[in-house]
């Protein structure tokens, strides 16, 4: 029984989500191999070989794998899938894009967003926006899984010494091509990996106010900035900051929600945070039902005061 983890990387380094996925793969029992499929990604493959617990890295290199196109990456995984009992992807935009494609080609059901490994074929996963936890058992010979990164600790990025083996790159499907990307630049911690997150909602009123009020607090705490769907839809914050059922799922040490009412869909993305602080002027706001510390106040006075007090 051997598990294959599909590494998430930017061709130069391994992304954090891969480390959590390795931990989940180790919990399935047996050896763990990592696939690094990319272009000029030798550095990423070398980094993958350092991850504690990994016994082999398979490195496939080709221009067609440069941007993680689902058609080409799925073909690459399928080329080596025969050797593995478990195939695990991080439940990120990239992993969710490819995993079901692999599962369907193997004619197996896919298990999304697992938060716990009970045994080699039984897993726990949240359903209905995290309002219920389902324990599910796969009846298929191969398990294709995406791993909720906040459900598992990160494996140590160093200490391993796996061999790197080169695999032939799968052919280009020719059906899709990468045109371009607009990746937001910021020097803050990554939202899904941050220890502290400060999140703003609709009550901030405008994108200027959002930046004016939330940025100093984030700077002070070395925190990542998040947002509710309402704030994102209104254009106060970019889409990739959205925390919730359909945005990012986070579980930091401290989550500060300012001007967020606490709809079911938002709670689904942050209620596993260790400590939740809510700042809201509406005493009836549902966010107070999950907050460890609630402050009933106008965020425009409370947040600057908080920055000063820190």
């Amino acid at each position: 029984m051997t598990a294959l983890v599909i590494a998430e990387h930017d061709n130069a380094s391994i992304k954090g989500a891969t480390l959590n996925t390795v931990t989940a793969a180790l919990a399935c029992g047996g050896d763990v191999h990592v696939l690094v499929a990319g272009h000029n990604a030798a550095a990423a493959a070398a980094a993958a070989a350092q991850i504690a617990g990994v016994s082999k890295v398979i490195h496939a290199d080709g221009a067609q794998l440069a941007h993680g196109l689902a058609e080409n990456v799925a073909a690459q995984v399928l080329a080596i899938a025969g050797n593995y009992s478990h195939i695990l992807f991080p439940a990120t935009a990239a992993g969710k894009n490819v995993a079901p494609r692999v599962a369907a080609k193997l004619d197996v059901g896919q298990i999304s967003d697992i938060t716990k490994v009970d045994s080699a074929d039984t897993f726990e996963r949240p359903i209905y926006a995290g309002n219920a936890i389902a324990t599910v058992q796969s009846t298929d010979a191969k398990k294709v899984i995406t791993v909720r990164t906040t459900g598992f600790d990160a494996a140590a990025a160093t200490g391993g010494s796996a061999a790197v083996e080169t695999a032939a790159a799968a052919a280009d499907s020719g059906k899709s091509s990468f045109v371009g990307s607009e990746i937001a630049k910021n020097d803050r911690p990554e939202l899904t990996a941050a220890k502290i997150i400060v999140s703003g909602g609709r009550a901030l009123g405008s994108s200027e106010k959002f930046n004016e009020v939330m940025t100093p607090l984030a700077d002070k705490l070395g925190a990542a900035i998040g947002a509710s769907r309402a704030a994102v839809d209104a254009g106060y914050a970019p889409n990739d900051l959205q925390v919730g059922q359909t945005g990012k799922i986070v579980a930091p040490q401290l989550y500060i929600a300012a001007g967020i009412s606490g709809a079911i869909q938002h709670l689904a993305g942050m209620k596993d945070s260790k400590v939740i602080v809510a700042i809201n002027k509406d005493p009836e706001a549902p966010i107070f039902s999950v907050a460890d510390y609630g402050l009933e106040a106008d965020l425009f006075t409370a947040v600057p005061e908080l920055v000063k007090a820190l």
Partner: protein
């Protein structure tokens, strides 16, 4: 060009579901059901493509119990031209739905299939990708912008950290993200008109698909409850609590 739009009947997004006391599932008896919000966005996008003259016919499809007909009528009230229900009372998992849709794609030969990125009940986010794999079509998931021209679709996708644009050859599978569009409200005259539109009913056997579930649900339980928090009177107390009690800053 035809567009196929699969839609799912789910518990309304505003309902807070409860886990059954015997832990066999969530209680959805007598709960308000609606069209999955991402599927509304998919129907809206298909209808907008038709209004632009890129598309000639929009076919809505649903798989599941008899009541899914209501969901299909809603899709037709938004602007779908006709509908197909694959009727079964069996539990349907994404792989089974993808196989049913693959059979319909073979039959109808659409140029584009637009699905929601995930259903808000099982939160799987699989069906579109699985259909693309089974039908050997390119995919563009989590779309926030779609432009169709010259046998290709240029799709902007929401990815971690920002946006990414792909060009895919048609036929293709696209799944919608929240910000693709704002679905229109259905009007009463359109609801009346939708009642007269064609709705065909098939069975999985008619399509030669075995829908047996591959994943067994052993148990459904409540998530762990958070212990009740406290309200603090002012910022100073909040900072003190975070420093001394929670020790997180």
């Amino acid at each position: 060009m035809k567009v196929l739009v699969p839609v799912k009947r789910v518990v309304d997004y505003n309902v807070k579901v409860r886990v059954k006391s015997d832990n066999t599932g969530v209680d959805i008896a007598n709960v308000k059901m609606s069209m999955n919000p991402f599927d509304e966005i998919a129907v809206e996008e298909a209808v907008r493509l038709k209004e632009k003259g890129v598309v000639t016919e929009v076919i809505a499809v649903s798989c599941g119990v008899t009541q899914c007909q209501e969901t299909l009528r809603t899709a037709m009230a938004i602007g779908a031209d006709r509908a197909i229900l694959v009727e079964t009372s069996e539990e349907l998992q994404p792989l089974a739905v993808a196989k049913l849709l693959k059979a319909l794609v073979d039959k109808e030969q659409p140029g584009l299939i637009i699905l929601g990125k995930q259903a808000i009940d099982d939160d799987c986010n699989q069906t579109g990708q699985m259909l693309a794999a089974l039908a050997d079509l390119p995919q563009a998931t989590f779309a926030s912008k779609v432009e169709v021209a010259d046998g290709k679709a240029q799709v902007t996708r929401e990815v971690d950290g920002g946006l990414e644009t792909l060009s895919i050859s048609l036929p293709a599978v696209i799944t919608t993200d929240l910000r693709l569009n704002e679905p229109r409200y259905v009007t009463l005259p359109n609801i009346m008109k939708a009642k007269k539109k064609q709705l065909d009913i098939l069975k999985p056997e008619d399509l030669g698909v075995n829908v047996a579930p591959r994943i067994k649900t052993l148990k459904v339980s409540e998530p762990p409850k958070r212990s009740a928090g406290i309200k603090v009177p002012d910022v100073a107390t909040l900072v003190a609590k975070l420093k001394n009690e929670a020790k997180v800053i």
